[in-house]
């Protein structure tokens, strides 16, 4: 009894967090997993079918496309954000004029919602009236920018929009890292006469590794969730060429009344997020603590 009443106010005030963590964060995963083993259609039903839903999922052509897309998107988006973000951070770090103006410009897309980002790029990349049209009017008749209606390239249009939105965020993270570098390091680097680009690439970049890792983890965790952006930009099309796991899940939940399938797909999504996060969490919380000791 003493254990319960000691520090009672604190326990009561943390009660919402405890309840939510258990029921929503843990409970929902257990719920989804249990029902992913059933043949639920329109309503959740407990008719156990083993791992059939998963088998069906992995045989589904659409899921294949979704997984392939998420890999392309994840790769291009992560690399794009990191490279452009780092490059912009380095440029901004060069004591340029109007630094805050440029920073504002590079970061403002991050304030916009995914829906807005998707719709804007949908208009800019519109094959009839968009940039292609502009280039034709300027006399570049050969210019082709039909990505949104091209099955192969539509996913890259999504990547461009996403990088446009997210690169500024990575820039801010990296810049924070760059600004934290000790001045003495720069002094000794310049005394050694090492060219700046090499200093950045081989000395500074490894030094801001925590920022790089944080950026990668945050970007990667966002990759799996991508939904609104694609819905606004391509609606998963042409056909289902730009569908993603998140879309597959939502479709099976809300328009195809195929709950079991949606649960199975969502569990796979969850597992993949864990696979991305686990090594990082291990490093951050376990390895680091050990290092500190």
């Amino acid at each position: 009894m003493y254990y319960l009443t000691k520090n009672l106010a604190s326990k009561i005030s943390l009660l919402p967090m405890i309840i939510i963590s258990l029921t929503v964060f843990v409970g929902c995963i257990i719920y989804s997993f249990i029902y992913s083993l059933t043949g639920s259609k329109l309503i959740p039903a407990l008719n156990y079918v083993g791992f059939q839903q998963y088998e069906r999922l992995f045989k589904s052509r659409k899921w294949d496309v979704a997984v392939e897309n998420i890999f392309i998107y994840g790769f291009v988006f992560t690399i794009g954000c990191l490279v452009i973000g780092f490059l912009l951070a380095v440029l901004i770090d060069q004591k340029i004029r109007g630094e805050s103006l440029f920073r504002t410009i590079f970061l403002y897309p991050y304030a916009m919602s995914f829906v807005v980002t998707g719709l804007v790029w949908k208009w800019v990349l519109n094959p009839t009236f968009g940039l292609e049209h502009s280039m034709h009017l300027w006399g570049f008749d050969w210019f082709k920018l039909d990505w949104l209606v091209n099955r192969e390239l539509a996913i890259y249009a999504v990547c461009i929009a996403a990088v446009w939105q997210g690169a500024g965020f990575v820039m801010v993270l990296m810049l924070a890292g760059l600004r934290g570098i000790d001045e003495d390091i720069w002094k000794s680097l310049s005394i050694e006469g090492i060219p700046k680009w090499r200093s950045y690439l081989f000395v500074i970049l490894p030094m801001i590794r925590p920022m790089v890792v944080t950026s990668i983890v945050l970007i990667a965790a966002g990759v799996v969730k991508v939904y609104d952006l694609i819905l606004a930009l391509t609606s998963g099309g042409p056909g289902y060429a730009t569908t993603t796991p998140a879309m597959y899940v939502m479709e099976n939940f809300f328009s195809r009344a195929n709950l079991g399938q949606a649960f199975a797909a969502s569990i796979i999504m969850f597992i993949s997020v864990v696979c991305i996060l686990a090594p990082w969490a291990y490093y951050e919380f376990y390895f680091r603590n050990k290092e500190a000791k």
Binding site: A9, L14, S21, F25, I29, S32, V124, L131, S134, D228
Partner: protein, 298 residues
Amino acid sequence: MNINSNNFQPNGPRPKHLTIGRIGMYGFIFMCALFFLMPLYVMIVTSLKDMDEIRSENLLYIPKALSFYAWPKAWSEACTGFVCEGLKPGLINSIKITIPSVIVSVSLGALNGYALAFWRFKGAYFFFGLCLFGAFIPYQVMVYPLLKIESAIGIYSSLPGIILVHTIFGMPILTLIFRNFYASLPIDLFKAARIDGGNFIKIFFYVIIPMSTPITIVAVILQVTGIWNDFLLGLVFAGRDNQPMTVQLNNIVQVDYGVAEYNVDMAATILTSLVPLFVYFISGRWFVRGIAAGAIKG
């Protein structure tokens, strides 16, 4: 610029003469800026053109004749399916969702952070870890079970329903930033308040809250932009009568019976992003701090 303090800076003061390299650098950064600004520019000029000009003229040119036809239409007449009320109801809904959600989630985050930083008990950090883990679970895994929970307590598809959802999903990050902020406060302050006889509630209201302004600003910025920009949760949990602006915007643009009016679409898009852009431009440094706080732990 103070020359003395800059003499010892690693990169030296800003070079007085423009070298070729620096010109190239400015050129490159300028091109990048153009790429980042282009969509915003295109949005604005498209919303001010009429459809004839959009069809025949260059996307990147400024309007030949300003047309303000699109704006009132996007605001109060554009159709989403069968209803033609424009974005106005969406704006009102977004305000109705955002304000209470921000207040509830930030207050709860502050309380959680306070309890975790100063009133640890056995097991508290275990649940905190679980909660943080929740920040990384894809929404798609939780949407359906959460919907079931909400309909069981009878608030699914209503304003309290969507507010609860935003509170839940805002909790991990808000708890984290408040905890980290409070953990960085001098512990002696807390001890002194304890010796003076302060209890959990008193210390929170009289000592901690008055010191929390900076982190609260950060949290509010984070939540206002996050909730305003949310699409998925609003779509699923808010119900037909409370659909936020982002959902209505998507409906206006995607469900286009008859001729697509790109100028109306773009005006609607700008209207939807006004609030977060406004927050971004007035808060500037704070916004950066907000997202950095949301991103970097400890």
